[in-house]
């Protein structure tokens, strides 16, 4: 008994220590952001800094002497807002309709490949998008542009493509979470597929769609490398479709390598401005749709647990004693709903409908809204759909246009993916084929022979190291927060808020932090260890949050079952709770892996950007693949090598994803206890 008590205490201490490390990381980043930016704000003036139109830093400026440079980021704020708006216009609209296509119009055979394509788009690192912009988009645009094609238009297209997967997958989830019964109810009254989709189902999914768009905006705001590669980066206002401009993130990445004292402060201050925007977006996300989204997510979660058929049956069972047969079952809807309340309404509209040349069958779908209104509270979404229907003039053309748009969007998205991958592979694969030394060759100092092997090795090092740091700490901290600390005690809430804020910090700000905090500590020049530490700080919030989420999804009944058998907290956590939460944790790990491979902004100045010899240990520096791609394409001398690096990068990301998926499936089976059959 005594031994077990010691074990319990030790376990608790270890988990608490991990939580403390997390808190320390959060505090460190905050202290860094505040400590470094406050003097700058003090010297430059908050208002002057934010509204100043001229950015012309002098790296010799110090806090003690009068300034000779000018520090104003207004043009870059305008740039960031323009880029984000453009991305939303491209990626939001395209993503929305692609989601509609995937959810409602996609032929069954195309469904899997297309949704795989979308998640593939999400996995492509941002430098690859930027590279694609440089080698394909800019030359194309330069035919119609007064300059080389860079500027707001190219940025919007590339950023739009980048936020597309976020928008598509979240929109689609919320659209597909709308109960089948809504659809059936409408179709049973004679509404066409398109009418039902656009008048009933999508309005019911609106909160989720809003959330998806807001998240897309969040991603666009914080994006660095892709924008740097296509925006031009002159500190000027974005004007028209073409013309060099600079965004906030670009400002940091362009100048942090050689910044002087005040300049460095001003760059951190730029990061703070950026963070303010991101937090604003997060607040918006929470306020506008938090509740609705959580409801949708919960519904989704339940849906995964029960089979769809069961779900529908359960809903019907729930609804019928509530006295609302019209609400759910389609047959009931047509028989009970239409004759009573529906008819006068439908009649009123049928005139308009027939004058528009629509057969009365579709007009009767107008009755759809009526049976919805007596339905009880749970069907608020549907009632909203009904009100919306009544508010809109009846335009039968709209759904058809929507159908067309969805089809176009589906084709465009698929096409975009094929174009990006196809173009890069078409150019890169022959390079690799003719010149395999690009990958396997030996680095020779001073030669023009480039090989990406060191970059691959450095990348793998960074992935392994940052996961080794971030995952155990993050998971254990989440266990402490979720299983040991009081669920809603004040310190826990503070930690959680801090972690949420940390999750919003753009990656480039971490890069800045790592450069100023870790690099001097580890010998003054970039090293794999410094880069990994930086990135693992960036990963912590993701790991903690998704682990907490999956811990929360473990039913309390399991914990109680274990405790009631006399098992202690520690054994309960290790044997019952964590295994059940493993799929969620694993997906967080996979996500993190992809992020480490794809990120370049935080590595650029913490791990070094030299495409050099093979790293021999964690204190050696070296460009990761993504950084190498940025370097190679930026200089313009080594385009062929850049293509090769891009191919390797994509293959690496995809391979890891596939691997993880395979592991996930096997794990899923094992989790249920099916795999290791114990025969007696």
């Amino acid at each position: 008994m005594k031994a077990s008590r010691i074990r319990e205490t030790a376990g608790r201490a270890v988990f608490a220590a991990a939580a403390v490390v997390c808190v320390a990381a959060v505090v460190a980043v905050f202290v860094f952001l505040i400590g470094k930016s406050l003097p700058a704000y003090g010297k430059l003036g908050v208002w002057e800094f934010v509204t100043g139109e001229v950015w012309s830093p002098d790296r010799l400026d110090t806090y003690d002497a009068p300034l000779s440079g000018t520090y104003g980021v207004r043009t870059m704020i305008a740039g960031t807002l323009t880029a984000t708006a453009g991305a939303l216009l491209v990626g939001g609209v395209l993503g929305y309709f692609t989601a509609v296509f995937l959810a409602f119009y996609c032929p069954r055979r195309l469904r899997r490949p297309l949704s795989a394509a979308v998640s593939l788009l999400a996995g492509i690192p941002s430098v690859v998008y930027g590279f694609f912009g440089i080698v394909f988009l800019l030359p194309l645009l330069s035919h119609i542009a007064p300059n080389n094609g860079s500027g707001p238009l190219a940025t919007a297209l590339i950023l739009g493509l980048m936020i597309l997967p976020t928008v598509v997958s979240l929109c689609r989830v919320s659209m597909e979470a709308v109960p089948q019964a809504y659809y059936q109810g409408s179709v049973a009254m004679g509404a066409t597929h398109s009418e039902t989709v656009f008048r009933i189902v999508i309005p019911a999914a609106r909160p989720g769609i809003t959330a998806a768009l807001i998240l897309g905006v969040g991603r666009a705001l914080g994006e660095t490398m892709a924008v740097v590669m296509v925006a031009g980066n002159a500190p000027a206002y974005p004007e028209g479709l073409f013309g060099s401009f600079r965004v906030l993130t670009a400002n940091i990445v362009m100048e942090m390598g050689y910044a002087g004292e005040v300049q460095e402060g001003a760059l951190v201050a730029t990061g703070v401005v950026l963070l303010a925007f991101v937090l604003l977006v997060n607040l918006l996300f929470g306020a506008v749709s938090g509740r609705a989204v959580r409801a949708a997510v919960a519904r989704e979660g339940r849906g995964r647990a029960a089979k769809p058929g069961h779900r529908a049956a359960k809903r019907r069972a729930e609804a019928s004693p509530a006295g609302a047969p019209a609400g759910t079952s389609s047959a009931a809807a047509s028989s009970a709903g239409v004759p009573s309340a529906g008819v006068p309404f439908a009649g009123a509209l049928s005139a308009g409908a027939s004058s528009a040349g629509i057969p009365s069958a579709s007009a009767s779908s107008a009755g759809m809204a009526a049976p919805a209104s007596p339905a009880p509270r749970r069907r608020a979404g549907r009632r909203r759909a009904g009100e919306l229907w009544q508010a809109l003039p009846y335009r039968p053309v709209l759904p058809r246009l929507g159908h067309g748009a969805a089809l176009t969007a589906g084709i465009l998205t698929g096409g975009a993916l094929l174009l990006v991958l196809g173009f890069i592979f078409a150019k890169g694969l022959p390079q690799l084929w003719q010149n395999p030394s690009l990958i396997w060759g030996k680095y020779e100092f001073g030669s023009h022979r480039i090989t990406v092997l060191p970059a691959i090795v450095a990348t793998l090092w960074a992935v392994a190291l940052s996961l080794i740091i971030a995952v155990p700490v993050g998971v254990m901290a989440a266990v402490y927060l979720g299983e040991y600390a009081g669920r809603n005690s004040l310190p826990v809430r503070i930690i959680r808020t801090a972690i949420d804020i940390l999750a919003g910090v753009p990656s480039i700000v971490y890069g800045l932090f790592g450069m100023i905090a870790f690099v001097p500590l580890l010998g003054g020049s970039g090293s794999i260890l410094a880069g990994s530490l930086t990135v693992s700080m960036m990963l912590l919030p993701t790991v903690v949050r998704s682990t907490e989420e999956s811990l929360r999804a473990v039913p309390d009944a399991l914990r109680q079952g274990s405790l009631a058998l006399g098992a202690g907290r520690l054994r309960t956590v290790l044997r019952v709770v964590l295994p059940s939460a493993l799929p969620g944790i694993l997906s967080a790990v996979v996500l993190s892996m992809g992020r480490v491979i794809g990120e370049s902004a935080p590595f650029l100045y913490t791990m070094g950007s030299v495409i050099g010899p093979l790293p021999h240990g964690v204190l050696d520096g070296g460009a990761t693949l993504a950084v190498a791609l940025y370097q190679l394409s930026g200089e313009g001398w080594y385009m062929n090598e850049a293509y090769a690096a891009a191919v390797v990068l994509i293959v690496l990301v995809l391979g890891l994803n596939l691997l993880a998926e395979g592991c996930g499936a096997r794990l899923e089976r094992r989790l249920k206890g099916d795999c290791h059959a114990k025969k007696r």
């Binding site: 009081g486 079952g561 058998l565 006399g566 098992a567 206890g673 099916d674 290791h676 114990k678």
Partner: protein, 263 residues
């Protein structure tokens, strides 16, 4: 020999009868139990009945201190199992080993059938395969499901039907040789046939184990229990032999409840 000792015989420090005097319990400001005193005899089935929210489950969870897990829950009074004061410095895990629990909804762990049952013994240090095999078989036999499950011990427990899952949970509780088993509406989520099987099981188990069962189903109480306690608004209104309580209740509130006039 030492290991055997750990696994097999029930921990000697606890007895099998339960005696409670002047139990009060608060959830924050809300008082959920008022001055409850009861003597539950060993190796019999005792049923707690009463309308929802009357405190019977809360009371039940005092016996294995599952209420400790509820934030803001405060317990007063003396709770003894045998001669041991369970709130007085007792090791809570040892207590829960001795006082097993079956929940309202079946909660098998996401593991194989075998691992589910072996979970408890493993918790208390049984590692040897032959010993575990023996415990698993005995427990499943006691729960009358050895024949159904012996060929699928390695399969996931989640694949069983609801009734099987609940009986598996009973077997899981039995695997640590408890002296007392608490059942919190164990059949409310089950179909009549599974319910019948679990009721038979209760009767059989009561030869060696004290069983305390919370139920909403008064027929169930009359069918399986020797003693019945009626709870209302946190008070134990009446407690006695089941036949007495149902045939000639002493309290008018009990009578109104069992004749279906409220609750």
């Amino acid at each position: 020999m030492r290991k055997k000792d750990k696994s097999a015989a029930p921990a000697q420090e606890f007895g099998q009868s339960i005696s409670v005097s002047c139990a009060n319990l608060w959830y924050g400001e809300l008082q959920a139990l008022r001055e409850v005193s009861i003597e539950i005899p060993a190796r019999q089935v005792t049923a707690f009945i009463g309308p929802s929210g009357c405190g019977k489950s809360t009371f039940l969870k005092c016996f294995n201190r599952m209420n400790d897990l509820v934030p803001g829950c405060r317990v007063e009074g003396s709770f003894r199992i045998g001669q041991t004061d369970i709130y007085g410095g007792t090791d809570v895990n040892a207590l829960r080993r001795h006082v097993g629990m079956v929940f309202q909804k079946p909660n098998p762990f996401p593991m194989s059938v075998y691992d589910n049952i072996a979970y408890g013994p493993r918790t208390f240090g049984v590692r040897r395969r032959t010993e575990l095999d023996e415990i698993v078989e005995t427990s499943l036999r006691q729960a009358a499901m050895w024949e159904e499950l012996k060929d699928r011990l390695g399969r996931s427990a989640l694949g069983l039907s609801g009734g099987q899952q609940q009986r598996l949970c009973i077997a899981r509780a039995l695997a640590v040789r408890p002296g007392v088993i608490l059942m919190d509406e164990p059949t409310s989520a089950l179909d009549p046939i599974s319910t019948g099987k679990i009721e038979e099981l209760c009767e059989a188990l009561s030869e060696s184990t004290t069983i305390v069962i919370v139920t909403h189903n008064m027929q169930q109480a009359t069918r399986i229990s020797h003693k019945t306690g009626f709870f209302l608004l946190g008070e134990l209104v009446e407690f006695g032999d089941t036949d007495d309580v149902f045939a000639n209740p002493k309290d008018s509130r009990t009578e109104r409840y069992i004749t279906g006039r409220f609750g």
